[in-house]
């Protein structure tokens, strides 16, 4: 089960890398900077490219294997590019017993993808989470930073539709803006 980190040697955006360096430099003496740095990197790049993980290892002087250990431990981190919206279904204990699995099944069906995959239109990626700390609201689904509580499998289509609509609106706005620019 040797899982190679199959990243094609993608050019890393130097502007974003400089932004990450600035983030690290501003917190030079902070202990436990690894996770904040990884979070910031994922914010900037949308995921954690191999070269960025190595960069963080060098900058924080933490062994590459340890950094990778942290990246692979937390389901929040992704080493593959994600869609524009990240859907995370909580399967922590509370959400699990209150039907998280069924919600996940509905999402898989509705999106036509498996956990860890991204829809063809690159709009949604599907991941599972291990407790968001909102057990009272179980089962919980997070779409980016939005928390959706007590999600029912039957309501999943509706939930996705709202994001699709939003995306369309943004898309139209983009077109209009472009038109104006022309």
């Amino acid at each position: 089960m040797v899982r190679q980190n199959n990243q094609c040697a993608e050019e890393v955006d130097q502007v974003k890398l400089a932004e990450l360096d600035r983030f690290i430099d501003e917190r030079k003496d902070v202990k436990g900077l690894l996770i904040p740095a990884l979070q910031r990197a994922q914010e900037l790049f949308g995921y954690l490219p191999d070269e960025v993980i190595r960069h963080i290892s060098r900058r924080l002087d933490i062994p590459f294997s340890e950094v990778a250990g942290v990246v692979t431990f937390y389901s929040f981190f992704s080493t593959v590019p994600r869609g524009r919206r990240l859907i995370r279904v909580c399967l922590g204990t509370a959400c699990y017993v209150r039907g998280g699995q069924e919600v996940l099944a509905a999402l898989r069906h509705e999106l036509g993808i498996e956990v860890g995959q991204t829809t063809e239109d690159r709009l949604f990626s599907l991941e599972i989470g291990r407790c968001f700390g909102a057990c009272g609201l179980a089962p919980v689904v997070m779409v980016d930073d939005d928390v959706h509580q007590r999600v029912k499998p039957a309501r999943v289509r509706e939930l996705l539709a709202s994001y699709r609509e939003e995306e369309n609106e943004e898309h139209e706005t983009d077109l209009v803006t472009e038109g104006v620019a022309e």
Binding site: M1, N5, R58, I62, S65, G69, T72, F73
Partner: protein
Amino acid sequence: MYNVTINGKDVQIAEGSTILDAARQAGVSIPTLCFLEHRAPLGACRVCVVEVEGARTLQAACATPVTDNMVVNTNSRRARQSRRTVIDLLLSEHEGNCQYCDRSVDCELKEIAHDLTIEAPEYEGERVPSVLDTSTPGLIRDSGKCIKCRRCVTVCNEVQQIGALFPQYRGYDTVVGPAFAMDLDSVACVQCGQCAAVCPVGAISEASHIEGVWRALDDPEKHVVVQTAPAVRAALGECFGYEPGTLVTGKMVSALREIGFHAVFDTNFTADLTIMEEGTELLMRLKAALTGKAEGYHGPSALPQFTSCSPGWIQFAEYFYPEMLPNLSTCKSPQQMFGALAKTYYAEQAGVDPEKMVVVSVMPCTAKKFEATRDEMNASGYRDVDYVLTTRELGRMIASAGIDFRSLPDDEMDAPMGLSSGAADIFANSGGVMEAALRTAWELVTGRELPTGNLHVEPVAGLAGIKEASLVIEDPLPDWSFLDGVELKVAVAHGLGNTAQLIKEIKSGQREYHFVEIMTCPGGCIGGGGQPRMTTDEVRRKRIAAIYREDEGKELRKSHLNPQISEIYERYLKAPLGERSHHLLHTKYVARQVV
């Protein structure tokens, strides 16, 4: 002091001790799998759970500090059954292949299962697939056998400060290994094998060369010679039931002959040679530094000079301190000096075609397997060293040859590369190379014997992580007058974590030395990654003492007085750092990228 009662026995133990410490003091044995001495307890394996009066749940003995008047029962029904369940669960995931495993004789998991009378699988379920990592010349890892105790992680990160290994992924999918469960050659592993030395099961071991050696021995065309490192003679006996620290030099030679090697030589011989070359190099560097020039010397002049016998340390420097490479002695390790000379000097003398010669070395070390494969190690025109066996592998070869080791008579190594001084023996101990070098360098410079008492340099011996000594040179011979009054400062570190600390202090100017000895493994080669398991500090001390006994038992205790060394310079090499030495015995290093 606290009073603690364990299984009805009262012990007095210092505050801050753990239940495990107290149990050991009381003579009560508690099984452990993740525990490592001198390291903060992980409490990961849960095998050491015990009953503590007043506590609701069982406590991990390794991680629970004692309190005054604590009453502990390690043998309650609940403790016994829990321990058993822990082992049952580990066994249910462990792809043991016990009948083929090289740990079948000393597997800690198997021993504990046996002691707990586990006789049938309690749980059956999915097993972690076995994936072999054979990417490095020194080590083999088998993910299916790994029980995730993390001893290897602790050693690699804390003792050696390399950080090649770390748990990857999560839960059932956890794999202990390099980043993203890639192979070892994708990270900065120096192949010291300390992970293999502490692994309780067969998940990390040396890459075996046994079959290759047998093939060479069985080939009538081949002339197979063997060299044995000094540390092997103080540990090989452990493979045959001897107490740690039993010297078995003579029996080892007999066994090697019975196995069928055509000549039995000693890495000690090239250890003595190393002293001649490395000692001269040090004096030349000092001359260049103190007088501004050293005629006829063209090597690097950076000080302090670092020793270069330990291949794990060499790779550590190549990865993490490339700026220090000019400080490393250009001398090859004794193993590689031996290989280069066996296929030239000895081949010539014995009238053997070097192409048909096979050089086998027996080392306490896994990094030596890597060292032998380095591109530049072919000064003889051939691969200088063909096979490297660990002490453990030699033990297995002796057993498989049907040799009754304990009843073997003592024998002696062959000429012209078998005679050695006591100074060569102590290469096995942390501080030993330094002491050996000082015995010779001091005498070359002053014409007098090293005045430190029985030729030992006490301050650099023993298990302290970083050691130092200084000697003021007085009344040197005319050639070395520039050293008059100079305070020669030396330091010794063992274990790469201590090494990193020492280098940090040298680079910051906090410490200043002329000569520094580094050994990769704690205690030096006697604690190498290829030695019989388990190497604890108690075992290290016994092996160290045995090596000093070997040294003190010899008439010949200084490298420069070894007649076979004088002979090789007269007949072949001419002079230390000479043309031939430069070609055969010296090397260069390459900077490597960590990530």
